[in-house]
Subunit: 562 residues, 2 copies
């Protein structure tokens, strides 16, 4: 038996930042070396960031990626590094991992089973590789593999044969949705126990546009037990010592030999291995939202954000998330009341500001509102504008003001709409939909309440004032307006929305769940006819299996009626 | 020899409108029967409309599609109909064509080589079919085939064998871009002559969201000569009599026999076959824009459109297109001058209105502009707002006013930005980008000028005032502003934009074309950093090989620097 020390570099790269990503990779190689690791592994496409999307069509980008890999190679003295990159040669591009040892690129493993998801379609950019790799490191076998290739090998019963007696080092880059970290752990553990293999499974972390990558890297032993685990939603170097039998070369499988200066033979003190606890579901979502917000703002070069504070629960929750993501000094709340804004809303908005200690600016908009009304009366042939016209201009004035703060001070505007609104179209285009990033656009209203309660529980105080959690939701665009004037109660709306969007349930199935058929019809019609608003709305963080982002490709022009 | 009469139904279905599409299909079956046709063919996915996108994930939609096909089947007395639909059985869905004769579904041909384009990815929704179909109709062989299957058969050298002695009836649904109708004609003609086959090639027509389908259906004879052709961008029933040898059954290929009452034996007067002239390039684009606009507006249930008229060339051209698409009574131009609007612009805007005889409403916005400026001075700690803040609020006020006309009267807002602006980000988000449909978003500025000159030539008069064609483009957001203050001249910008976007040229290649490297860098950086604006901009008509619509999947967060 020998002890192999592996290091899983759960890093947070940035798409397109070849220089920064390589520097980070080199930094983690050095950390791994300082910890006497034999092998350090990086996530899928670590050099380019994930998903690089159409940057992969840029030949200059591909060429630069290769140069940066060369630089990484030169920093691998005395260690094996497995580094995900986009491999381009003779006009062919592969989703690849460089198997690097001691300043030499030993081999390039090219992904064989291309992944097709709503995040990224490998086959749009990459050709298929051919050979599964297998290596002998001073007598110990190891097999680097992309998660999709691992699943294929397992499904086809070829995992044992193709990986010989080695440990499997599985690289991934797959995005978060509620419950997914546990799903991945379970699936990979089962593969480990079914095949009697150690599997180290590495996912990247960080936010990129609408996606968050949870990290949550882990090592499963040959019985499927988790013996090491990284925290979710942060960078980490997960170290583990694995006791392995000496490698018995497979008769029908070629194995490349790699040698690095004799760490495997030397005496090392055993490494301290951590097993971080799994997060509770609500905290898991909250942490995803914080990381997604922080990375969108920072990776796009912004420091401070601004949002409208209505005194309602959505903007309150987004303010809390923004403070956690960026610090209280980097969040400005703008309160923009009209004659329809209740005293309660004004008080509640101020209380959030006080509790969070963030900057607050009050900008009453009644004067502007009146200017528009007067203008319209004059151009609409002295007819008063319709109720819809009068309601919609209020969020549009607010959007203009938020954008002015953005233009004037370089603050990024956060939009505060939730998934129930985005789905049903209960929003004003160029009004409350406006903003660079829609933090909670994939969070159904009922979950917004759960998150708010969790925030208060965590803080041990009512950071979000109790009244906000109990009062009836309202857009306050006219007197005594309630969301329920237009929408069914959120406890009714949200399950229908979820079953229709995430589970593709039919009207018959939704009705069989105990819902009123007329209501089901109404909700689905609302979802469909508001696709045009969603297409012009900002991106925001995906936290469910199916978000209103790249997960969907729904026609705007659509005459289908239920 | 026998004469087969084929009818290509170049129809304009609407996505999701199962009832309307089936009625249209039945109407064209009846027209074909009245013209004594033996076979009538419909485009790919005619019953669902194309592309149905995620409607195909809706089991209820799939089930209803099957019922509507049943209804179509019942209307096929004495004729063969080939009807594209989404075939669903046992949870499997196929891109299929029903081969229907005399009220019976003889066979279902399921597409084998699934198409993957930026418009539609068959493999997201459909399984692959297995068998190429081949039929004997009272002694004449015919082979229905999707264009992608035809290309595959030709590429692999299997076309002759698989199609025996029959005529090939090729169904398609593929979208327009400049020059594409001629490309398709050439490619299919070459397949016809290479294989010595008659090929009838049918494409649908109409607009669907960002796509326009040109129709331009045709029949090529065994030498590749076009012997019949439908007009582009309109519905048509193309009839052709084809003299064919009696079918010799292939020894290694199964052929189903179909019989319909003996039209093939009877005496028919020869049909008058039309061969419509190919359009000139500029007219082709113009017609695509008109059809795309008409169908987006009408298929979404709108009657009238509204747009801002600045006195510049973009809004002038869009007004002309809108009038051609919808009629002069359905276009309203809103002129919204400020203190920065020149007298020339005001006069030119009014002249367009007069020339087109469209409704015009003048809404000066200086008062509102001042209200915002005053408000900001009070909330920005008595500092005057920045130049950017002052410029951006002007188009945002205009957007609010256009949206008020939309909310108040149910008019659809057309946005008027061109591809050069969309690419370089020379626009104000929630300002001039606002609108439901961006008619010329894929038209580079230099082509906007060409189209304007063509419009004037066609009309034999300066419908678009000559001064608009010669004056320097300006956004008029401050005094003496010119587009060239910010952008290179459009004659320089457009070729770089095109080579970078459509042809994936690298910086080195763009520089080798004779461009200044610093300028190339600046333009590419502009394109990349403005992705966030494009994501929140309305859809518009694709007319180039690669538009800023679903053709691209570019990251917003992107630190790659050239």
């Amino acid at each position: 038996m020998k002890t192999l020390r592996i290091a899983l570099a759960q890093i947070n790269p940035t798409v397109g930042d070849l220089k920064g990503n390589s520097e980070k990779i080199i930094e983690y190689i050095e950390k791994a070396r300082a910890n006497d690791a034999d092998i350090v592994m990086f996530p899928e496409l670590a050099v380019t960031g994930y998903p690089p999307e159409d940057l992969l069509l840029d030949k200059g980008f591909l060429k630069n990626t290769m140069s940066h890999l060369d630089n990484i190679i030169s920093h691998t003295k005395d260690i094996v590094a497995i580094v995900g990159f986009a491999d381009s040669m003779n006009k062919k591009v592969y989703n690849a991992a460089g198997i690097i040892a001691n300043r030499t690129l030993i081999d390039t493993y090219r992904k064989i089973n291309l992944t097709k998801s709503n995040v990224f379609d490998d086959s749009k950019y990459f050709k298929r590789g051919r050979n599964y790799p297998l290596y002998d490191l001073d007598g110990i076998g190891f097999c680097p593999v992309f998660l999709n290739d691992l699943k294929h090998l397992d499904n086809t019963g070829n995992l044992k044969r193709n990986t010989s007696s080695s440990i499997i080092l599985c690289m991934d880059a797959s995005c978060y949705y509620t419950g997914k970290p546990a799903e991945t752990e379970k699936a990979v553990s089962m593969i480990a126990s079914r095949n009697g293999k150690y599997i180290a499974c590495l996912n990247m972390t960080g936010g990129q546009d609408e996606w968050v990558f949870e990290g949550n890297s882990f090592v499963a032993d040959t019985t499927g037990k988790i013996i090491a685990k990284s925290p979710a939603f942060e960078e980490d170097l997960l170290l583990a010592d694995i006791r392995l039998k000496k490698n018995i070369p497979s008769p029908d499988y070629k194995m490349k030999s790699i040698s690095i200066p004799s760490k495997l033979k030397g005496k090392r003190l055993p490494v301290q291995t951590k097993i971080v606890n799994t997060l509770e579901p609500v905290e898991e979502v909250y942490r995803a939202l914080v990381l997604g917000t922080r990375d969108y703002v920072r990776k796009n070069g912004f420091k401070k954000v601004v949002l409208g504070l209505s005194g309602g629960i959505d903007s309150a929750l987004v303010a809390v998330i923004a403070k956690d993501a960026l610090g209280e000094e980097n969040v400005a709340g703008i309160s923009m009341p009209t004659r329809y804004t209740s005293e309660e809303s004004k008080i509640d908005a101020l209380e959030i500001v006080k509790n969070l200690n963030i900057q607050c600016i009050e900008v009453p908009i009644d004067t502007l509102y009146d200017s528009y009304l007067n203008l319209w009366i004059s151009v609409f042939n002295n007819e008063p504008p319709s109720q819809l016209t009068r309601e919609n201009i209020q969020p549009r004035i607010r959007a203009n003001i938020l954008m002015a703060f953005s233009n004037n001070f370089g603050w990024l505007v956060l939009a505060t709409g939730n998934k129930s609104e985005v789905g049903s179209g209960y929003s004003t285009l160029y009004g409350d939909t406006a903003g660079a990033f829609a933090v909670i656009k994939d969070v159904p209203k009922t979950l917004v309440y759960e998150l708010a309660r969790w925030v208060n529980k965590r803080g041990g105080t009512q950071i979000i004032p109790g009244r906000i959690l109990t009062k009836a939701p309202t857009a306050e665009l006219k007197h005594n307006q309630k969301d329920t004037d237009t929408l069914p109660p959120y406890e009714v709306l949200d399950p229908i929305l979820e079953a229709y969007i995430e589970d593709n349930k039919t009207i018959e199935e939704l009705t069989a769940m105990g819902n009123d058929p007329a209501l089901v019809n109404k909700i689905i019609a609302m979802i469909q006819k508001n696709e045009y608003k969603r297409r012009q709305s900002p991106i925001g963080i995906k936290i469910t299996k199916k978000s209103f982002g790249k997960d969907m490709s729904f026609p705007i022009t659509n005459r289908y009626r239920y």
